[in-house]
Subunit: 389 residues, 2 copies
């Protein structure tokens, strides 16, 4: 058809320029033997690519740049090839999800070869290294739920805010059934997209529910940054978020979805800063939440701190140790987890030990990994399989 | 509380580093008088900022870069200040949503100061210039629907794919009600996130429905890139997408949501490449779709093409002109729109004229603007207020 020739030329000129660009990049990219493109790459880009030892080759075409690095926490200098393509092979990287930046002449930016995720307070690149045998966050041929975005009005920020709600398979088909609800919070420098994208909440829950390992439940994924400068741990920030969660978010969810609206069927959990929010807001609101989960939180100490002060559970939550029986009665599940290579692990274990000695019932688990999403995916997987039982 | 000092120090060290970074950037950023930060900025970043004449000031801190530009289609050279902050003020920019890149030593990347959007085949920055008096895509105090992400299996790509579904206010509360469905497609170099993010589909529909100007309806936002190298206009690409839409997507939606499953209550529309898909797939599937909308599509010609061929509606869709009465009977709404500054406008008007002369009922509308999202937001607003009446 004549028009198709015309359309192709138009496409060439306007719509599909990006494909040509990509093709050039991909042509330039030396194919690395025995490597596979990272699942977090965009548009079937070949690099970043992962080698059998989990080292990663990054490449970028930049004939006129002076210096390019990959910042994965550790910075790698890239080397410029004759073709103007810079590349570097990293040390082996532990499986899981890692933020990184392309640093062009000392300006950290997102890598055009990668999907972008909101982390560290801006759009960051990330590389997700598959973990052998770990398919609990892989989309499978099982009944799938949905993640829905909703707007609610916040009396704390005096603005409309977006949150996500995971609804399990069957929610649509069974309009008379009501469900328990987990409220899950992101970490510092992240927002409500964290558990939806990086965390793969929907896939993890779909698989757990299909295996019969978790009850069908809703998972509410809200933005915890309601104070100036994001979230934070100050008493003021915690108080603001407590108001947001208990007076705005929970009532909105109970009004908008078919929920079992009682503490027994409400849980709050979160990672890092969100774990701190779950500790303070959750344990201070046992009339709202009957289960609390704390993943990789710094609240138990573990980072060099000038004051040298250590964690005092009784001071933070009066009665948590001295009246542990009362807390045991109100808490169906009090869960704490941490990555085994996370600098927070020792203080976390020490805090758990102290709580247990005082008679507080705590379920603790740890997973290989540092302060990273693979640990948090496993923490959600573990928490969701224990809660509401 | 002692622990707060500790936590603050931890925060300083690990979690909130990004805030410090941002603060520095913001301190460095010369506040531009009478300017407002763009709504597409990330984390309350001050720049890009918009001046009263809709010119925009961009800034980036890059003491060691050799050359930095802003690529808004037109490239602007940024000027380096003594503090290592580069900046530029653009010419006045027409209101609406515009993709752009920060070009550092000739490497185009997303601007860390901006939200990122999938466009031009990668994560791009964008600046959304507010249009005075246009609040049809502003979140208001009206009943809100939801946008839900779902996985479906594609027999065309032989993989699980994600799509979004807008459900109107009341969908949750009225489990016996069934709804008409609009299937809406993105442009070349974009994906299913386009109409959900750039297009603000949920906000536009919420507002239209609240005003009583549109019927409550579902809007299905799928990924139209099912062929090698994305979408495209070839017969093969169109055939693949026709299979995807009619054999995979529509049956999945009718199975998963409460739909009025007949042509009268199904519409297909799209922008640019998605408009081409709507023209071919929609008009070739009138047993599935009773309404078709084509926004800013290149299919009518309008871009210099070597073959010099012009659009022949009868050749593309046999009978469209010669048996227009049959098409009029099957089509409840055949809608075409284009931006008034879009190079496609003249050929589009000419095609519409030819169709009307042949007796085909076409509703045509145009909006100020080039090949851009503000025109497509208005096209959806216009289409949704006419369809299913």
């Amino acid at each position: 058809m004549k028009i198709l020739a015309m359309l192709k030329s138009m496409a060439r000129v306007t719509l599909l320029v990006f494909i040509c660009t990509l093709s050039i990049e991909m042509a330039k990219a030396q194919m690395v033997e025995n490597s596979v493109p990272a699942p977090t790459n965009i548009n079937q880009t070949q690099c970043p690519c992962i080698l059998p030892d989990n080292s990663v080759v990054f490449q970028v075409k930049a004939p006129n740049a002076q210096k390019i690095q990959i910042d994965l926490g550790k910075k790698y200098d890239m080397v410029k090839g004759a073709d103007g393509v810079w590349s570097v092979r990293t040390k082996p990287i532990v499986p899981g999800f890692h933020y990184y930046f392309l640093v062009i002449d000392d300006v950290p930016v997102a890598d055009p070869a990668s999907q972008s995720f909101f982390g560290t307070g801006k759009m960051a690149s990330a590389i997700d290294i598959p973990e052998k045998g770990a398919d609990f966050y892989t989309v499978k041929d099982v009944p799938h739920g949905a993640i829905c975005s909703k707007y609610y009005f916040s009396s704390v920020t005096n603005s409309w805010r977006r949150l996500f709600v995971y609804t399990p398979p069957g929610y649509e088909a069974n309009p008379s059934v009501k469900y328990p609800v987990v409220y899950i919070q992101h970490g510092g420098g992240e927002d409500e997209t964290g558990w939806a994208n990086q965390g793969k909440t929907d896939i993890i829950l779909d698989n757990l529910i299909a295996e019969g390992k978790a009850k069908p439940m809703l998972v509410v994924i809200a933005n915890g940054n309601v104070s100036a400068g994001g979230g934070g741990y100050s008493s003021e920030a915690m108080a603001s978020f407590k108001t947001e969660m208990t007076e705005n978010i929970v009532p909105f969810i109970d009004k908008s979805f078919r929920t079992l609206a009682n503490p027994k069927n409400r849980a709050m959990c979160g990672l890092s800063m969100g774990g701190g929010q779950s500790f303070y807001v959750g344990l201070q609101s046992l009339d709202v939440f009957g289960s609390v989960g704390i993943f990789s939180s710094g609240i138990f100490g573990g980072i060099r701190n000038p004051s040298g002060s250590t964690f005092d559970a009784e001071k933070e939550i009066p009665g948590l140790l001295s009246k542990s029986a009362e807390f045991n009665k109100k808490l169906d599940l009090f869960y704490i987890s941490c990555g085994e290579q996370d600098m927070r692990i020792e203080h976390t274990k020490k805090a758990v030990e102290t709580m247990k000695k005082s008679g507080l019932e705590v379920e603790f688990n740890s997973f290989p990994g540092d302060h990273e999403w693979q640990v948090w995916r496993k923490s959600l997987h573990d928490f969701a399989s224990r809660v509401f039982k």
